[in-house]
């Protein structure tokens, strides 16, 4: 961050007007203005993100009384964490959920490409319909889906019955409850992904398609050879966001499956474990240790994604 250096990756952004020669570091001749502009953001991030993370890290080394007050216990919480029989299962559940929700990225890309086809009637209407779930309250949406999924009286099993398939108790059968939750999560994420990918698609120069069709490329070939590489960065963005969101699975599980459902034993996610330890069991120190573990895991997964990105995301 020293003045005058070029940060890695800076070359990817458009060069500043006037070229590198006029580039100046922060504070060089600009007074306190830059700080004034970033100040509110830095303040917000520090107070509402960094400070809580630091406090959580500190609390993960403590044990709490029923109504607060903590004592230092060193690494006890972490020792307990690595031997917790529920941890592995919760990690697997969380990863399985994330994997299913990730299927929403290609689905969203196809849908966005369809919505972007020139001359499509009612494109705005479709886009609104796909985006609607994203602005609805997840807990409210989960309540509606709970009725759809209802094993005895749900519309899903009714529809399956019409084609001769006998449905199961989707949210109350081990295994299926996680899939049911993930399908809902996937559906909820579609709207946001479609909007981002649509915007990216519009930036793809139309001449490329024209040239390709002159060369005789089929629509499918055009999609794979032009669309996919050209929107790589946006796909990468929604993938990272989806993975981070997936690793934080809690509200859908809590609202759809419910705490008093016998399958919850087999369906808990990492954040659910954190919530259970922190609130109903009131072991806030242990809860903090789980939270830190989730943070580290999320950071690692995201770092790996950034490393892999170099392999498949093309600079445009």
């Amino acid at each position: 961050m020293t003045a005058g250096t070029t940060a890695p990756g800076a070359g990817r952004t458009a060069p500043a007007p006037g070229g590198p020669a006029r580039r100046r570091g922060p504070g060089a001749g600009q007074g306190a203005w830059p700080l004034l502009f970033v100040g509110p953001l830095v303040f917000g991030v520090a107070v509402f993100y960094l400070w809580p993370i630091l406090r959580t890290a500190y609390f993960s080394f403590t044990e709490w009384g029923v109504f607060g007050g903590s004592t230092w216990v060193g690494f006890d919480n972490y020792a307990r964490l690595v031997t917790d029989p529920e941890l592995g299962r919760a990690a697997l559940n969380t990863l399985a959920y994330t994997a299913i929700v990730l299927l929403g990225v290609p689905i969203a890309l196809v849908l966005a490409a369809l919505l972007n086809r020139p001359g499509l009637r009612g494109a705005t209407l479709y886009r609104t319909l796909f985006f609607l779930p994203y602005v609805a309250m997840p807990v409210a949406v989960a309540q509606v889906w709970k009725i759809i999924y209802n094993g005895d009286y749900g519309i899903l099993n009714w529809a399956l019955g019409l084609v001769g398939i006998e449905g199961v108790y989707w949210v109350s059968t081990p295994g299926w409850s996680l899939v049911a939750t993930a399908v809902l999560g996937l559906w909820l994420s579609l709207g946001f992904n479609i909007i981002i990918l649509s915007a990216a698609l519009r930036n793809v120069p139309r001449e490329l398609y024209e040239a390709a069709s002159l060369d005789g490329a089929s629509p499918a070939r055009q999609f794979l050879a032009i669309t996919v590489p050209m929107v790589g960065r946006s796909v990468f963005f929604v993938t990272v966001v989806t993975v981070i969101g997936g690793l934080q699975l809690f509200d859908l599980l809590y609202a759809l499956v419910g705490t008093a459902n016998p399958v919850m034993r087999e369906t808990k996610s990492l954040v659910y474990l954190f919530w259970e330890a922190s609130f109903p069991s009131n072991e806030k120190g242990y809860g903090a240790a789980i939270a830190i573990a989730i943070l580290v895991m999320t950071a690692c997964v995201t770092a790996v994604q950034f490393l892999l990105q170099r392999k498949w995301v093309h600079d445009v």
Binding site: F67, G68, G154, F279
Partner: protein, 431 residues
Amino acid sequence: MKKHLAVLSALVAASVALAGCGGGPGGNAAAEQPADPADLTAEISYGVWGENVAEATQRVVADFNRTYPNVKVNVQVTPYKSYWTKLQTQAGSGTMPDVLWMNGPNFQLYASNGKLAPITGLVDAGKIDPANYPQALDTLYTYEGVRYGVPKDFDTIAVFYNKKLFAEAGVAEPAADWTVEQFTQAAKDIRAKLKSKDVFGVTATLVDGGQQTYYNTIAAADGHVISPDGKRSGFDSPEAARGLQVWADLIAADAMPSLEQDADTSALSRFTSGRAAMFWSGSWDTKLIADSPIAADVAVAPLPRDKRQATVIHGLAHAISADTENKAAAEAFLTYLAGKEAAVTFSELSGVISAHKGTQDSFLTVLPDANLRVFLDGAENYAVPYPVSKNSAAWGKFEPELLPDAFSGAKPVAEAARAMAEAMNQALEKE
């Protein structure tokens, strides 16, 4: 009421032992009240839980405001499940509601940690008379000789049943002295007759705690959930297994919805939509049933007897937060809540059995033709205390994790019950 004094004392066996006879800290004088109630200006919060409380709490606040027009009371309704989670966090940060509902399993935790304000001052000033409430409930909310709560209401368990479905199945309605065997047979017979109409014999909550179900059948089998001194689990006894077996058998015989079905469609919805002939539940559900389409067909039968007859009894109280910044207003509101008028409002509008002397009859009017007196008879004649210890939540959380295996048939009942007893004893040792 006199019978209550004797019977409800069972309710407090554990807390009496802890309460002792110590004088406790004196000098908990009531806050000074202005001469004219209209001069008292404040904004206080009132923490309650439940689904059918909005109307009653609004009316109570409106009635209170007739005397205290300048005390604004903000009612905070929280679902029961999250109420305690929220309250614990609020207590830790000194932001509990000024006036709040308290229950038996949680009371000792809050009182022993100084989170509740003693009401001794109000009693000494003659504003609240403990003699107006069943003594056992009054004692339940006394910790180390100091009163922290005014009993609000109490509840017992009984069997709601749908007369129309019994008639349709050609099964005789429950007799007052029926047995667990007769109950099970009735449930099976109804299912056999009405399966084509998607009607179950019985429905009840098994996974969300046993208050409405197995706590009662365990007691009826002469077993107990927790030993009378609150130190050991009773789940590993043959009597407890017998009490749990009742439910495993009903599910195995398809007379009761499976756990999956019950998780998808709640017992209350199933019963109130006419898809189950019997519903084990507490007096607190009476209002919801009275407002449902099947209200006219519903009657109430006492719980069937096994080796004995038994129902779990429990009661709530109103308490004041120790952190309240408007003690005068909170005490004025508590004094109103402790009175007869508020008790009648709660009975009539939220359908609970109010604890105040001479108000129980208004509960009977919630569903006049349904023989609701069964709930009062249970309290007087065969009630057993709700199982509590100093940190009841620490072992209660294992019930929905370990007992479903018993009900679903995944494990033999005795084996699942032993696993539960082990987990519970470990938690009890830490208290």
